[in-house]
C-alpha cells in the first residue's frame, strides 16, 4: 500500500503521468464506439423489462422445499384455478428455497385464488405468499417520471456547475460525460439482458449524482491548476488539465472503490440472500454506473473540457507561446525530453509543477521570461497569510 502512496506522490509531482488529454482522440473513439454499441444493443435487443413495466401479478414465497417437480406442480396448480385471462404462468425458482410465479393481470378474486392454490401446493400458509400486482401503466408512469427527472436534473446541474466553475464549458463537458455514462449503463443492460425494474430506474438516476461527484472533484483541480494560466507560457490548458487528472487519479480511484464497496455488498447480499428484488436491481445499476462514471470522469470529461477550452483564442495563443518556448528551450538546452505534462520544463524540482498555480517561481531553468510580472499575487491559502517559501535543497540545512 505504501508503494501505492508513493505512486500517488509521484503522480502528484508529475514524475509519472499518463497523457490522458493528449490521447483523448483514442478515448473519445473508445467512448463513441461504446455508445454506438449501447444504442445498437438497445434498439436491436431492447431492454428486458420486468413485470413492473408490462403489468401482471407476481407471487413469491420462501422457505419452500424444492424438488424437481416443483415447477411443474405449481404451474399446473395455478392453471387449475381457471382464473380468467390467466395465460401461461411463469414459475421460477430463486436460490434453494424460493418460488416465484408470474401471471398476467387478474381480478382481485382470482389473485386470491391463485395465491391460495400456490400456498396449498407448496404447503405454506397463505400469508407467507407475497404478491405484487402491477397495473399495465405503472411502468410507463415510472419511466416517464424518470425521464422528466433526468431532464430537470440535467438543466439544474448545468446551471450549478456553470455557477460553481463560472464556465459553461465545464457544464457542457460534465453533462456530455454524464449522458455518456447513462447510455453505456443502459447499453450494458440491453447487452447482458439484466431485468429492468423500477429499482433499476432509481439506480440509473442515482448514477447521475454520483458520476458528477467524481467529475466535479477533477474539474476542481483543473480549475486550480489553470487559474491565471494565460499569464504564464509554461503550460497549455491541456497540459494543466492533464496534470490535474493525474493528480486526482488516486483520489478518483479511491472514491470510486469506496463507493463501490457498499454498493457491491448490497449487490452480493441482495443476490445471494434475497435472490432477486429491488436491492439487487438497484445495486446492479449503481455498480455498473459508478464504474462507468469513474471512467468518464478520468478519460472523457476533462478531455472534453480541454477540447472546448483550447478553442478559445486566448488558449490558442497560449498554446502557440508555450510550444514556441518549448521549441526554443529544447534547441538551447538540447537535453529536455518534452513529455506532455509537467515535470519537464521545470527540470527537476518537484515543487515547480505542483505549485504552478501558487506563485510564480523565479528559480529554475525556465528563467528568462518575466512570467511573474503578469500574474497577480494572491494569498495562497485559506490561512490568509504568506506561505513559507522553500529554498533549493542545496541551500537547506540538513
Amino acid at each position: 500500500m505504501s508503494k501505492l502512496g508513493t505512486i500517488g506522490a509521484r503522480l502528484h509531482r508529475g514524475e509519472i503521468s499518463y497523457d490522458f488529454i493528449g490521447k483523448r482522440k483514442i478515448w473519445f473513439a473508445v467512448s463513441i464506439a461504446l455508445v454506438v454499441i449501447s444504442l445498437g444493443a438497445l434498439f436491436a435487443r431492447g431492454l428486458a423489462l420486468g413485470i413492473e413495466f408490462k403489468g401482471g401479478v407476481e407471487y413469491q414465497t420462501s422457505s419452500v422445499k424444492i424438488t424437481d417437480d416443483t415447477i411443474a406442480d405449481v404451474s399446473s396448480a395455478v392453471k387449475a384455478t381457471n382464473a380468467k385471462d390467466l395465460g401461461d404462468p411463469v414459475v421460477t425458482t430463486i436460490g434453494g428455497e424460493k418460488i416465484r410465479v408470474q401471471t398476467k393481470p387478474l381480478d382481485q378474486a382470482d389473485i386470491a385464488r391463485v395465491t391460495d392454490a400456490i400456498a396449498k401446493e407448496l404447503n405454506v400458509p397463505t400469508a407467507q405468499v407475497s404478491t405484487s400486482q402491477i397495473g399495465a401503466s405503472w411502468g410507463s408512469q415510472i419511466a416517464n417520471k424518470a425521464i422528466l427527472a433526468l431532464i430537470v436534473f440535467l438543466v439544474l446541474v448545468f446551471g450549478v456547475i456553470w455557477i460553481y466553475f463560472r464556465e459553461p464549458k465545464a457544464s457542457a463537458a460534465a453533462i456530455i460525460a454524464l449522458v455518456h455514462d447513462v447510455f453505456i449503463t443502459v447499453g450494458i443492460y440491453a447487452l447482458i439482458g439484466f431485468d429492468v425494474t423500477p429499482a433499476t430506474v432509481i439506480g440509473v438516476l442515482t448514477i447521475l449524482g454520483y458520476s458528477l461527484y467524481d467529475t466535479v472533484v477533477v474539474f476542481d483541480k483543473v480549475r486550480e491548476n489553470t487559474r491565471g494560466i494565460t499569464g504564464s507560457n509554461r503550460y497549455t490548458y491541456s497540459d494543466a488539465t492533464n496534470l490535474a487528472v493525474n493528480q486526482t487519479i488516486v483520489r478518483s480511484i479511491n472514491t470510486t472503490l469506496i463507493a463501490l464497496m457498499p454498493v457491491g455488498s448490497i449487490l452480493v447480499v441482495g443476490t445471494v440472500v434475497l435472490g432477486t428484488g429491488p436491492l439487487k436491481d438497484l445495486s446492479l445499476a449503481l455498480f455498473v454506473g459508478i464504474a462507468v462514471g469513474a471512467y468518464s470522469s478520468i478519460f472523457i470529461a476533462p478531455a472534453l473540457l480541454a477540447q472546448f477550452k483550447e478553442r478559445e483564442p486566448g488558449m490558442q495563443a497560449l498554446r502557440r507561446r508555450v510550444l514556441a518556448k518549448r521549441a526554443a528551450s529544447t534547441s538551447k538546452a538540447k537535453a529536455g525530453t518534452p513529455v506532455a505534462a509537467g515535470a519537464v520544463v521545470g527540470g527537476g524540482s518537484a515543487t515547480d509543477v505542483s505549485r504552478l498555480q501558487d506563485k510564480p517561481k523565479s528559480s529554475g531553468a525556465t528563467a528568462g521570461t518575466p512570467t511573474a510580472s503578469s500574474r497577480p499575487v494572491r494569498p495562497t491559502s485559506g490561512a490568509g497569510r504568506p506561505q513559507p517559501s522553500r529554498k533549493p535543497r542545496s541551500k537547506r540545512g540538513k
Binding site: 500500500m1 505504501s2 400469508a127 442515482t206 448490497i266
Partner: protein, 586 residues
Amino acid sequence: MATTTTSRPGRTLIILGVVLVLLFGIMAIAKSWEPKLGLDLRGGTTITLTAKSLAGGGDVTAEQLTEAKNIISQRVNGAGIGEAEIATSGSDHITVAVPGANQDSLVDQVGQTALLYFRAVYDAQAGAPVPTAPPSATPTGKPSTTPKPSTPPKPSTTLKPSTSATPNGRAWSSVLGAATPTPTPAKASTPVPSAPVPSTPAATPPAPPVNNGDPLNYQPDAATQAAFAAYTCDKPAPKDEPGKPLVSCSKDKSTKYLLGPAILKGTELSDATAGIPQGGLGWQVDLKFTGEGGEKFLNATTAISKKPAGANLFAIVLDGVAISTPSVTQPIPGGQAQITGSFTESEARDLANVLKYGALPVSFDISEVATISPQLGGDQLSAGITAGLIGLGLVIIFSFLYYRGLGLVVVLSLLAAAALTYACVVLLGKTMGFTLTLSGIAGLIVAIGITADSFVIYFERLRDEVREGRSLRSSVETGWARAKHTIIAADSISLLAALVLYILAVGSVKGFAFTLGLTTLIDLVIVFVFTKPLVTLLARTDFFGHGHKLSGLDPEHLGVERLPGQMRPADRPAAKSTRKPVGGEV
C-alpha cells in the same frame, strides 16, 4: 501559527457531542429507539393508486387529489382497518399502506370511483335506533297549484323536524334571491316545471309505492322501509347505486336518511365555491350547474319544495355518505343555487370542495399492489442490515489499509454520521411519519460510500499539501480550505440529484431519494464539525503530527523525503521529542 485558523476544534466536537446526546435524549423520552419500518420490511399491503380525472384531460388538481385521499381514508376506516396510512404522493398518486397480509377486498373497495349524487330525502331518523317521533308534517300553507305528491302516501313519515328538518339550518336558495318566490312567472323556467309536475299527481295517487323510473316520483317500498328501520349508522356504508334508493348516514353518523334514487349527478355541477356574499354575514356555498343539470335541479327543487317543511330535504351524497341535507322551500331556476345556513368557514370550504370534487370526479387505476409476507419483509430487513454492515466493514478495512492511522478518523466519522443518521431517521419517523423502506435502507448504504468519499477528498488534499512542502499542521488547515470547496460542490450535486428524485419520482424512489439526501446533508455536517476538528486535534499529537509510520502521514507514505518542520525520523532524538511539529521553518 497554524492555531490562528483552528478555531478551537475541541469546542466544535463538544457541541456535536451535546447535539447527539440531546437527540438521543429525545429518543429516550419518546421511548422510540427503532425507526418506523415500511411495509416491505415488516409485511403488509401497499396499494398505489393513480388518480385520473373522469372529465377533462385526465390530469387531477391538488384539491381533487386531497379530496380523493379523504374519501379513501373514509372507506378504509369504514372497513374497520386500523393502522392504515393513506398519503398522496406526487401529483396524481395515492398510496394506501395496510399492515398485515391479504386484503383482497380492500383493493376493490379502495379503487372505486367516488361519485357525488343529489337525492331527495324521504325519511330521516337518528343514527342509533330511537322511538319514532309523531309525524309532524306541518304544511307550510304554500299556494300550491298541484296536490303535494309525496306527503299523503308516505306510510311512516317519521321526520323529526327538531333534529333533521333543516340540519344546522341549512337551506337551498336561489341565487336570484327573494325576488323569485314563485317560479311560474319566470319566463325561461315556465315550461320546465310544468313537465314533471302534472305527471307526479297522475302517477302517485293510484299506486303510491310504484316506482316508475323517474326518481322524482320515487316512493319507498316496504322492503326499503324495513331495511331503513333496521339500519344503524355504525354499520359499514352501503353501496351507492344511483338508480336505487339508498340508506345513508350523515357524516357525523348522528342521523340516518332514506334517500330516493339519484336525481342529479355530481358531474352535472360545473362549479362550487365557498364565500361570504356581498353584504352578507355568514359563509355560504354557491353552486353552478351545467345547462342540463340546471334544468334537472329546477325540476327537483320544484317537486321537493312542495313537500312540507322538514320533509323538503335535498341531500348531497358522496360515496354513500350524506354530506349535507339542506331544505328546499322554493323551486330554484337559473342553474345556480346557494346553500345557506350557519356555516363556519371550514364547513363551507369542505362542502365546496366535496361539490367541486363531485363535479370532476376522479377515477383510480390500481397501479401497484404489493403484499409482502412478514417473512419476506424480515428477510429483506436482515439482508439490508447485513449488506450495510459488510459495506461498512469493507470501507473501514480499505481506509485502514490505505490511510493507516487516518483510518481511525474514517471510522470515528462514519460512526458519528451513523449515530446522527439513526437519530434523524427515528425522530423523523416519530414526528413526520417517515418510514424506512427497503430502498431507503439501500440509500443509507450507498451513502456510506458518499460520506467516506468526503474524507478521501480531504485526506488526499492534505497529502498534496504536505507534498508541496507544507508542514503537517499547516497542511491540515490549507488542505481543508481547498478540500471544503470541493466537498461542498460535490455534495451539492448529490443533494440536487436526491432532491429532484424526491420531488419528481414516484413509489419507492422517494424513500431512496430521501435517505440519500438526508445522509448527504449529514455528511456535510460531519465533515465540518467532526472530521476536520478531529484531524486538527490529531495533528497535534505526537503520533500523527510527527508522521509515525502507522499514522498514514509518514514521509515515505506521502512520498516526500521527510516532513517539513522536523528532522528525519532516523535523526530525531528518540527519547525526548519535545519539539512540536511547527510548520513554516526556514
